[in-house]
Symmetry: C2
Subunit: 342 residues, 2 copies
Amino acid sequence: MELSVRKEKILGAVVESYIAYGEPIGSKALLSEMGLSVSSATVRNELADLVSKGYLIQPHTSAGRIPSQKGYRYYIDNLFKPQELSERVKAHIDREIFLAADAPEKILAKTAQVLSELSGMAAITTTPSGDDARVHKIRFVVTGRHTGMVVLITSNGMVKSRLFRCEFVLTPELIAMFDRALNESFVGLPLKEISQAYLQTTAAAFGELSLFMTDVLMAILDASKQAMQTTVSVSGATNLLFLPSYDLLSARNVLRFLSDSEKLSQFLNESSKDTKVYIGKESGRFELSDSSVIITRYEIGSRAAGAIALIGPLRADYKTLIPQLEYASKCASDLIGELLEV
Amino acid sequence: MELSVRKEKILGAVVESYIAYGEPIGSKALLSEMGLSVSSATVRNELADLVSKGYLIQPHTSAGRIPSQKGYRYYIDNLFKPQELSERVKAHIDREIFLAADAPEKILAKTAQVLSELSGMAAITTTPSGDDARVHKIRFVVTGRHTGMVVLITSNGMVKSRLFRCEFVLTPELIAMFDRALNESFVGLPLKEISQAYLQTTAAAFGELSLFMTDVLMAILDASKQAMQTTVSVSGATNLLFLPSYDLLSARNVLRFLSDSEKLSQFLNESSKDTKVYIGKESGRFELSDSSVIITRYEIGSRAAGAIALIGPLRADYKTLIPQLEYASKCASDLIGELLEV
DNA sequence: ATTAGCACTCACGCGCTTCGAGTGCTAAAC
DNA sequence: GTTTAGCACTCGAAGCGCGTGAGTGCTAAT
């Protein structure tokens, strides 16, 4: 549905004023906000019309107007202009993320932290899923007499390490044997196929050696499970408690959702490319019906990877947040791409 | 200050009833809770006395009584009896923690998760500090053409790994050289002494090789920093929002405190051995003035290590929580001790 | 289509009242 | 001296009425 130019101007002004001040705005106040040279009565007529069309809400008869979810949607689709990020903010994001140039999950955790601090909302990142990855190689590090570390390197560049402990003494010869035997039988294997059952049959094939293997194999199983799972990192959930838009009840809902990484990763991974904004109920999760989600997906080496998102109140400063999110996403995916050599 | 037997009985009943139901309790209701055969008037006299002595509070003149912080304190010091854990709960804790038999920080994160789920409060764990640790050995794993992983093993058994990327190709020869050179110069070195400055002088000594070293050295610096820091793991902070004792305001305070890992680790590490309970202001942190903290320290191989704590409302079920905390603490420290071979 | 003018609406804050749980006190009983 | 019955009292919670004012909706004129 199309709106007249004047209606758009008024709707935009209501949305931006409400985002800025958090209070319903009336016809007179609106006039001074916009450059429009009409009377307040005209504005009132337009407002009444916007209410009847569902773009605005009046909390009660004699209050000003606030945007409805439909109003926010129209604003985001047609009216808002993303704000250029200042060089200072860009440099800050660059620097912070670059300092965490470690494994992808570390980089993404840091990205979430930076974003949540900048935005004052909650930030969430997910690591690339390794569902379709294969074993690239397996390495061992002896860490003690009876303890060692398995390092699993996957075809998509992820590195997962897992400690293990065994009853016998870990000699270099033993480790070398493990290394040979396991790489022979595992390299190229899809992670999905590494299951408890598979390991048992594999172990049997090693004959005598298999007695020494069980702890190592369990560690590999666990490492491959970890490599397949997407890790979800949430930062700044507490921020939401300090936003006036949230009362105890709605904060509960959102924070509960944020602390359930199962639900969260499912939700974040169901969206497709590009930056998207879900206003309230659009997200399809009742826990988020009073919140908005800004979500973008990043790619590593032109393959879909994970998601980065901001969750906060409907009354969010989309103008600024969207560019911040996109910039941080680019930083993080570039850095990860570099580290994974793709 | 000592209380008469009857006063103790009454105080105990008020505390336990308030913990159970969360509402002020009056003289009549109290009578039916206890087996005491006196009249309500007598109880009223005793209650009045307990109020004037500061053990109880009446929210207003014509309401029942609730425990004051001093009342909780007396209850914990003299009246309460820890409840035996059921075998089911013990087995549950065992199993869950045992499944996470990986690096200490993983085990502790899992411990926090289990505790928060059992208690319905927030659980926090800290890893042992590696402040006085030394380099035990350094290992390398080649993960790609240009990327590798440094594994730092410290004298106290911690294992930290860090990825790095370098411009040149990582050949096995190069890695072997790194291994030799770095272990020669770092083994036995206190982690504290590994600083940017120290590394620069060290690097200089390697002559030509030093050009290849910078990325590796930075990775080592970062790994040693990580090994020295205690990692704080918080789980179940959101639980607090669902407890009737917390309103938005006090929840804000606690959750803000919980999301500041700096403050948190400082707070948790300042307490000494044994299980301790801080009631409200006793903790000395205004953010916790409406909360109670149950904290215990664990040891690894009879050396003080980290802390495990529960944070929740004053109105907490200390009887059950304290044994849970202590049992989980024992599980976690045993398991870590085993993995670190001490 | 726009505007001036005006009656109207409704949340908010304030004070009043009623209700009832639970008290504190007193005087009598043990 | 301690305990108890009895009763007046206190005070928060909930409901009601009222005045205030921001901001509206409507009408009639432009």
